[in-house]
Amino acid sequence: MSLVTLARNTGYAFGENRLTLVAAIILALLTLCALFGPSITPFDPLTTSATAKLVPPSGHHLFGTDSLGRDIFSRVIVAARLDLGMAISAVALSFVVGLALGSLAGYFGGWTDRIVGRAMDTIMAFPLFVLAMGIVVALGNSVANIIIATMIINLPFYCRFARAEVNVRRDLGYVEAARMGGNGSLRVLVSHIIPNILPPMMVQASLNMGWAILNAAGLSFIGLGVRPPTPEWGIMVSEGASFIISGEWWAFMFPGAALVLAVFCFNMLGDGLRDLLDPRKRV
Amino acid sequence: MAQLEIDNLSVEFRTRHGVVRALEGVTLSVARGEILGVVGESGSGKSVTAYTVMALNDEAAEIKSGRITMGGIDILSAQPDAMRQLRGREMAMIFQSPRTALHPIRKVGKQIEDVLREHAGLPSRDLKQAAIAALERVRIPDPERRAEAYPFELSGGMCQRVMIAMALACSPSVLIADEPTTGLDVTTQAVIMDLIRDMSRSARMSTLLITHDLGLAGEYCDRIAVMHAGHVVEIAETETLLDHPAHPYTRQLLAATPVPESRIETLNSIPGQLPDLRGALPPCRFSGRCERRQPICDEGELPWTELSPTHVVRCRFPL
């Protein structure tokens, strides 16, 4: 699709659905935070202050300060890079590997299908979050391992989806025509079938992003993965949770709200993205 | 006496891309025991007509004008509850793709019982026998066993018979058959059409047969109405229509339909395309494709010309 058509279709999709537009704008803001976070914050997210502990939100500290006197607003902004980065990496890896395994299983069937199926069943036999915890503990506490763990537990989701979509299309006229036209099996799969399943898969990926963000944040919340003082929404919610009872609500509320906002945006964008990529809606 | 009368019906659909003037000035009537064929290509409005009679149209449909009466009852002003009563009891419809039109996970016997329970008011203990009797009437062999089958276990022809059994279970006075044999093998089609004709005659039902196949209509219908782009362009008795078509579209359609005597060199194609039903339309919607067009065809209201008491045509210059 040319850039012009892409731009035109984007405009069309957003014109159709205001909510998608709002979600896209918010996501753009979050992306800006992720990209330029450290440069645009009013305070250094790591600087502590003994005097400014747990200061409520004010003009000076927009979101207040945490128990170590750090500015929450700055930390929330900078954390966007880590949270979004982890989620996008995990989803991208899951998507690519899941797409590859699922397509092969769906097209060739037989032993390929059985082996891939058993592998996915093994993953799904565990409660997924517990499995993620186990993987991070086994591999070691690090951001890279959070990404790997999140990728593994999301794999069956993409794999099954790709398998089903390829299976449905395998016997259609245009696939047979592609084989008549001299395309070998792998080329038929990659050049003829997969372009048609990408739109629905992108929708799934967008919806999955919200889940991936929560996953990564959840692991950090329980102390696995990201270590303090790294700003990350999950850790911040965990640190701030101890102060709910004493009334210092801003410590957990703002990072929590950031999580909610991010998940909401990705869910909203799922539909908009499908409209954008669906060739039937192309003008 | 006409059992079903449609008078000057006009229906529009509000869509994202504009208002579609699907039907305009449609006038038809079907007498008791008569089979009227409604023939047209895609976009002609034949299915919309059927759905409007059954009040099964989409929400986006708006009836702009016209009357539909069935046995004297005004359909268009009936309340939804009254319509639900009428549907199934007095009027019934059978659809294309019988296997997908039936409930996929309910036994066919039970589906017929549902219709009987709702509309015939039979006591529960008689339902099962009545359902089996309905299957017998449509000549399904071994009806007691077949009643326990699911639609996916039956062939297309069998499923269509079940649908006919359901439609006729309450002896309606009007039957609408919307492309009932499209997708069925030709031998099955012949058997199903024979069945519809026999049931129609013996129950003195008014039958509206909607089809794109002029050959099929020619064999089974008493009269045929030809539709094009939302207009009825000609209505006549079958032999008259086939031998002396008066509307240019009818003649072209006949020449385009392959019959055993056709030759590839003389097979006609109809030039041009259907007009866009959303835009401004001339009074005669065929004029853009008609070789006999005159300037007056694009002005004023398009009149009906009566060539005989049983032959009408909507054209200023009938053949």
Binding site: - | G156, D185, S262, L267
Partner: protein
């Protein structure tokens, strides 16, 4: 002169799950079919007769269980279907698929759909060469150039039919298999496409195997017609002879079932019931036994061979040589 395509003793069996061990579905059973160069052969039969399987066998999309197919004298069944796909023979046989089965890739523009086989089968690399060939083919099938950049959902039924034809003839095959090419089209559009097909056959000197359920259309386009029932050929004859003097009881029922306004007052014999099961059918009984209006002990104990009953006319019935409609 050697025929273009010669299929002999072609069979395709599928294992059946859940039934008795080793049970096989006889989709195509011991079929022989010959197509001469420049000939147009029709293949008719109802659902379950095996004509779709024949399309895939002759198109070399699947391998036969037994039997042989000779293309211009070369045995194309000696190699597997995958090997054939990369051989030079692949471009000789092409299929025009039914539109109803989504025969055009929704994410490909029309240009791409037509260009793809050129790149794969004719190994064309040069962009300008491909461009010229695609445009020339589009012109040949009456497809306006501005439609080349469109997607299938932006085309009408008739336009999509033309694209499917263009894609198949772009590589100039010697045999074109057409699987219900006009069944999804309005009658007025069908006429145009049928005339296009006749024209193309003469211009590109192709043979046709025309598969359709519409017997009137087959009669228009084909010089010879083959009738199949439950995986076997039951009759093969020149088109006019088949429709005017059918010899097999099934063919007679088929012809009698064609809606014919001229015969609306006649009561015609009807074929009711369903075909018997294609799973492990009795090899010693006629497949039509049980549904056939004739039907004697002989029919139940011996499979009737395909026997000559007239010039280029064969039928597989023990009573084929009796006068039409006559029973023993």
């Amino acid at each position: 002169m050697a025929p273009l395509l010669e299929a002999s003793s072609l069979s395709k069996f599928y294992p059946v799950k859940g039934a008795a061990r080793g049970a096989k579905l006889h989709a195509v059973d011991d079929v022989c079919l010959t197509i001469a160069a420049g000939e147009s052969v029709g293949l008719v039969g109802e659902s379950g007769c095996g004509k779709s399987t024949m399309v895939r066998l002759l198109g070399r999309l699947i391998d036969p269980s037994t039997g042989q197919i000779l293309l211009g004298g070369d045995d194309i069944t000696a190699m597997s279907q995958a090997r054939f796909a990369s051989s030079s023979g692949r471009r000789q046989i092409q299929i025009v698929f039914q539109d109803a089965t989504e025969s055009l890739n929704p994410s490909f523009r029309v240009f791409q759909s037509i260009a793809d086989p050129l790149k794969r089968l004719l190994d064309m690399r040069n962009g300008a060469e491909i461009d010229n060939r695609v445009r020339a083919t589009a012109a040949l099938v009456g497809l306006p150039e501005e439609l080349l950049q469109r997607y299938p959902h932006q085309l009408s039924g008739g336009q999509r039919a033309r694209v499917g034809i263009a894609r198949a003839v772009a590589v100039e095959p010697s045999l074109l298999i057409l699987d219900e090419p006009t069944s999804a089209l309005d009658v007025s559009v069908q006429a145009v496409i049928l005339r296009l097909l006749v024209d193309l056959r003469e211009r590109l000197k192709m043979s046709y195997l025309f598969v359709s359920h519409d017997l009137n259309v087959v009669r228009l386009l084909c010089s010879r017609v083959v009738v199949m029932y439950l995986g076997k050929v039951v009759e093969s004859a020149p088109a006019e002879a088949l429709f005017t003097k059918p010899h097999h009881p099934y063919t007679r029922a088929l012809v009698a079932a064609i809606p014919d306004p001229a015969r609306r007052r006649e009561a015609r014999p009807r074929l009711d019931g369903n075909p018997t099961s294609p799973i492990d059918p009795d090899p010693n009984a006629c497949r039509f036994y049980g549904r056939c209006p004739v039907g004697t002990d002989l029919c139940a104990s011996a499979m009737p061979p395909l026997r000559t009953v007239g010039p280029d006319h064969a039928a597989a019935c023990h009573f084929a040589l009796s006068p039409a409609g006559g029973h023993p």
